[in-house]
Amino acid sequence: MTLLDIRQRSGYLFLAVILGHVLLISAQVNSARGVPVLEAVTFGIFSEVQRTLSGGLSGIQNVWSGYIGLRHVKAENDELKRQLAAAQVTGQEQRALADRARGFAALLELRQHVKLSTAAAEIIGGAASADFLTLTIDKGTRDGLRPDMAVIAPAGVVGRIVVPSARSAKVQLLTDRNAAAGAIVERTRAQGVVVGAGEDRLQMEYVSEVADVVAGDVVVTSGIEGVYPKGFVIGRVETVEKSGTAYKRITVRPAVDFSSLEEALVVLTPTPAKEAGQGVQE
């Protein structure tokens, strides 16, 4: 009966015998790489099996890891959000530091340019009342600051120190109603006095009616009052009007944007006028 089955299935038997012979031959013949063909084929097939199994296991592992990972995603997401917020804050701090550094660099450049003994100061406060336009800086008498010392910025004149304390000082802005500075129109050398108007504009007074002043002229300090060094920019002439008297009514736009001021330089070197005044007193 078994023999009959084998006879009926001679095709399968034929294939089996052929396969056996192929395997037998492959075991004896080396491939081009010097490895027996049977070994190479077996390894090739087995490696594919390994690859398939490994791929399957990796897929299962990925799915499992993803499932497990989902349980920690929320906590991780919250932590990442917290870190992102901290990084954003740090970035803003760094950007602020960079801006401050650029400001200090500009001040340093000005300091080297004017050849004056100055002290860099940071603006730490504003005016306590809107009627008095002042600023507070972080330098005081410990740093050599005294009353009536000029405060300047890279763009131009800021004001003068009115109340110094040990570690800070109050600066009266040039725009304050009580502030004034001797001024010269740079182009024509026409002299006058710049006074604060309590707003964001200055008034240049005591300029002769016949003086050549036009809008756009640059107004600089004259140093005559003994507070501000000579030649520092105050601003530009915005309007020139005839007042009907011997003097012109001139509006000056300050060169310094006081609203965005963050650093300033305090001029420690006495102006010639002040030195002369001190010499007279002595």
């Binding site: 001679s10 015998v17 052929i18 037998l24 013949v29």
Partner: protein, 169 residues
Amino acid sequence: MRAAGVILAVSAALALQTTLARFLVRGAITVDLVLVVVVYVALSAGPTTGLLTGAFAGLVQDALSSNIIGIGGLSKTIVGFLAGIIGTQFIVTQPLPRFVVFFGGTVLHAVVFMGLYMLLDLRQFGSPYGAVTGQATANAVVGVVAFQLVELLPGAVERRRAAKTRLRR
């Protein structure tokens, strides 16, 4: 019983092939007695016995020679199987069809045998057409003769016995 007869036939063919080889070689014409036995068994007993006979005979022949073991076995397995198929599907009782089957079996054996060697880059055979044709013819002749002898031999014995009986009467 049939298996023992197959083994005996293959062994006898191998013995003759190995001991009488120098007498069988005539120039380029050689006879593969083992292959003749395989085709003979396949035609007589069918594809299963044919392929098993071919596998066994070829493996033994390979083992006794310096060949790769399996190439001869594979070749003779294919020939034995196909010859068995032909023997069961067609009427192969006349000398000419038998001649064709032996001839074709030898050619097929040569194609597979040499093809495998060349495919595996183990040996080059040049232009073996003449040798293959001569061997196929010789195998076919030997095979057809073997068939005729085996088929005529039992009748001859009976006819001789019958003649002796008539002479005694």
